[in-house]
C-alpha cells in the first residue's frame, strides 16, 4: 500500500505543495498532542485535587507575574491554560472525527437509497434534507441542543450529526444518479446481483472521491461548530475541557487586560482549522482528475 503511494503522482504533488505539507504536519502535531495530552500537559486541569484557586488568573510565564509552572498562564479556576488547551484539543478532535464519520455514514446510506430507488422514498429523504439544509447546520444544532434537558459531549455529537448529514446525502445522491446509468451496473443487474451488492460493491466505490473531500472540509467546519456551541453554553458541559468554553470564560476577563485566556485557545483553534483547510485544498485538487491532468 505504502509502496504504491510512493510511486504514485500523489506523493510527488504532495511534497511539491508546501501549504499542504505544512497543513499535514500541523494536523499530525495536533493529533499527537490530543492523544498524549495526559503525558504532555503539566497538570490535569480537571483533577480537582491538583487545581488550586490560589493560582487563578496568573499571567504567562514570560510576564512579570507569571510562573514557570504555568507556561501560558491560568484561568479563573487556577487551571493552566496550556494544559486545558491540550485537553480541549481532545474534545475538539474527538467530536470532529465522530461527527464526520457518523454523519457521512447516515448521509451515504440515505443518499444512496434515495438516488438508487427514487420515487416516494427519494422524495421524502430529499425534502427532509432540504428542510434541514435551509435551517443551516449551526442554527439546527443550537436549537436541538436548546431543547435537550441535559447536555454532554455525545448530545453535541448527536445534534451536529442530525444537522450535518445533508451535504453527504446530496453529494452521494448526485453521484449515484450518474453512476447507476453506467453499463457495468446494468451488467451486474443482469448477472442477478442483489441491490445491496450493487450499491456497496459497484456504485459506492465510484461515488466516494467527492465524499472524502467533503469529509476533510467538514472536519474543520465541525471543529469550529463545536467550539461555537460550547462558547454559547449549549455545547459540552463546564466539567469537560473545550476550547470554545475557555474562550467564553476568558471573554469576561478581557477588560481586565487578561488576554491570554482568550488568545491562546483562539489561536489554537484557528491554527487547527487553517491546517485542515490547507490539507483539504490539496486533497480536493488531487481527487479531481480533471484538474490534475491540466496542471
Amino acid at each position: 500500500m505504502i509502496r504504491i503511494f510512493k510511486k504514485s503522482h500523489h506523493l510527488n504533488s504532495f511534497v511539491n505543495d508546501p501549504p499542504a505539507l505544512i497543513g499535514a504536519v500541523l494536523i499530525v502535531v495536533f493529533v499527537f498532542c490530543a492523544l498524549f495530552a495526559s503525558v504532555l500537559a503539566p497538570m490535569d486541569p480537571y483533577d480537582l485535587t491538583r487545581v488550586d484557586l490560589g493560582n487563578a488568573l496568573m499571567a504567562p510565564a514570560w510576564m512579570d507575574s507569571g510562573s514557570l509552572a504555568f507556561p501560558l498562564g491560568t484561568d479563573d479556576q487556577g487551571r493552566g491554560i496550556l494544559s486545558t488547551i491540550l485537553y480541549g484539543l481532545r474534545t475538539s478532535l474527538l467530536v470532529g472525527f465522530t461527527v464526520v464519520i457518523v454523519s457521512s455514514i447516515i448521509g451515504i446510506v440515505l443518499g444512496m437509497i434515495g438516488g438508487y430507488y427514487g420515487g416516494l422514498l427519494d422524495t421524502v429523504i430529499m425534502r427532509s434534507a432540504d428542510t434541514v439544509f435551509s435551517f443551516s447546520t449551526t442554527l439546527l444544532a443550537i436549537l436541538l441542543l436548546g431543547i435537550f434537558e441535559s447536555r454532554n459531549i455525545w448530545t453535541v455529537v448527536f445534534a451536529i450529526c442530525i444537522a450535518g448529514w445533508v451535504k453527504y446525502a446530496r453529494t452521494i445522491r448526485g453521484s449515484v444518479l450518474e453512476v447507476k446509468e453506467n453499463a457495468y451496473v446494468t451488467a451486474a443487474k443482469a448477472c442477478g446481483a442483489k441491490d445491496f451488492r450493487i450499491l456497496f460493491k459497484h456504485i459506492l466505490p465510484n461515488a466516494m472521491p467527492p465524499i472524502f473531500v467533503l469529509m476533510a472540509v467538514d472536519m474543520a467546519v465541525v471543529i469550529m461548530l463545536e467550539a461555537t456551541l460550547s462558547f454559547l453554553g449549549v455545547g459540552v458541559p463546564i466539567t469537560e475541557p473545550s476550547l470554545g468554553m475557555m474562550i467564553s470564560i476568558g471573554k469576561n476577563y478581557i477588560y481586565a487586560g487578561m488576554w491570554w485566556m482568550v488568545l491562546f485557545p483562539g489561536m489554537t483553534l484557528i491554527l487547527m482549522v487553517v491546517a485542515i483547510n490547507l490539507f483539504s485544498d490539496w486533497f480536493r485538487d488531487e481527487m479531481n482528475p480533471r484538474l490534475s491532468q491540466r496542471s
Binding site: 435551509s134 435551517f135 449551526t138 436548546g146 434537558e149 467550539a227 461555537t228 471573554k251 488576554w259 484557528i270
Partner: protein
C-alpha cells in the same frame, strides 16, 4: 421546577394543571398545534408574558443588525471580488485574498472577541455592549437614527458579516474569472465598450445569480450567527433572548423562536426565487 424549589406538592400539581402539563403528550401537542394556528404560542414560563410578544419585542434589534450585516457582506463581498478578479496578481488582491482566508478560518465568535479586544479594550474607540441610544418610531425601536446607536452597530455588524463577506468574495472572484474569459466578454472589449460597462453590465450580471443563491441559502446561517454575535455584544435581540430561554428551560419561548426562524427562512427562500427572475430573463414563473 416551574413552581420554584420550595413549592409544596399541591403547588406543583397546580402549576402542572395550569400549563396543561398533566395531560398526555399527544394532547399537549394537539393543543399546541390548534393554538399555534391561531397565532397563540403560549406564555413564557418565566415572565408569564405571551411568548410571541416577548420575541417580537426583540425583533427590531435583530432585524436591524441582520440588515446591516447583509448589506455589508453583499456590497463588500461583490465589490472586493470584482476588484480581485480584475487584477488577480496585484498586491492589493493578494492582501484581500489573504484576508478572506482569515474570514473563513476564524470562527465568528472569536472574530467578535478580537474586535472587542482591539477597538473597545485597547483603543477604546467603540462601545462593546448593547444598542446605545435608540429612537422609538411607533412600535419599532430603531438604533439607526442616533450617532450613539450607529456607533454601537459597527462592531456587531462587522462580526456578523465577516464570514459571509469572505464567502461571497471568493464566489464572486471565481465566477468573474470564469466569465471574463468567455467569448462575449472579448466581443464587448473589442466593441470598445468602457471597462465599467464590460465588467459591471456584461460580466457581473452573470456572476450575481450564484451569489444571490448563496446569500439567500445562507440566511439560516445568518440567523444562527446572529445568536452568536448578540451573545458577544449583549445585543438586546432575539438571539440573546433564545440563549437566556435555553438556560432557563423556557420552552414556549424556544418553540416560538423556532417557528419564527422557520417562517423567516421560508419567506427569504421565496424572495430569492423571485430575485432570480429579475436577474435572469430566461427564468420565468408563470
Amino acid at each position: 421546577m416551574l413552581a420554584g424549589k420550595y413549592a409544596t406538592q399541591a403547588e406543583r400539581e397546580h402549576v402542572r394543571i395550569v400549563y396543561g402539563l398533566d395531560k398526555p403528550y399527544y394532547v399537549q401537542y394537539a393543543n399546541f398545534l390548534t393554538n399555534a394556528v391561531k397565532g397563540n404560542f403560549g406564555k413564557s414560563y418565566i415572565s408569564q408574558v405571551d411568548a410571541l410578544d416577548t420575541i417580537l419585542e426583540r425583533f427590531p434589534a435583530t432585524f436591524e443588525l441582520a440588515l446591516s450585516a447583509i448589506f455589508i457582506s453583499i456590497t463588500g463581498g461583490v465589490l472586493l471580488g470584482v476588484v480581485v478578479s480584475i487584477k488577480p496578481h496585484g498586491i492589493l488582491s493578494r492582501l484581500i485574498m489573504a484576508g478572506s482566508l482569515g474570514g473563513i478560518s476564524i470562527p465568528t465568535f472569536f472574530m467578535g472577541i478580537l474586535w472587542v479586544m482591539v477597538f473597545a479594550v485597547y483603543l477604546e474607540w467603540l462601545p462593546a455592549f448593547g444598542r446605545g441610544d435608540t429612537v422609538q418610531l411607533g412600535s419599532w425601536r430603531t438604533g439607526f437614527l442616533t450617532l450613539d446607536g450607529l456607533k454601537h452597530f459597527i462592531m456587531p455588524a462587522l462580526t456578523l458579516s465577516g464570514y459571509q463577506l469572505a464567502v461571497l468574495l471568493r464566489l464572486t472572484r471565481a465566477g468573474m474569472r470564469e466569465v471574463l474569459s468567455e467569448e462575449y466578454i472579448k466581443t464587448a472589449w473589442a466593441k470598445g465598450l468602457s471597462p465599467f460597462k464590460v465588467i459591471i453590465k456584461h460580466a457581473l450580471r452573470n456572476v450575481l445569480i450564484p451569489v444571490v443563491t448563496i446569500a439567500g441559502l445562507s440566511f439560516g446561517e445568518l440567523i444562527a450567527f446572529s445568536i452568536v454575535t448578540e451573545s458577544i455584544f449583549q445585543w438586546p435581540g432575539m438571539g440573546n433572548l433564545l440563549l437566556i430561554s435555553i438556560f432557563e428551560n423556557d420552552h414556549p419561548v424556544i418553540v416560538t423562536y423556532i417557528m419564527l426562524a422557520a417562517f423567516i427562512i421560508l419567506s427569504i427562500n421565496i424572495v430569492v426565487d423571485m430575485l432570480y427572475a429579475l436577474l435572469n430573463p430566461k427564468i420565468r414563473y408563470d
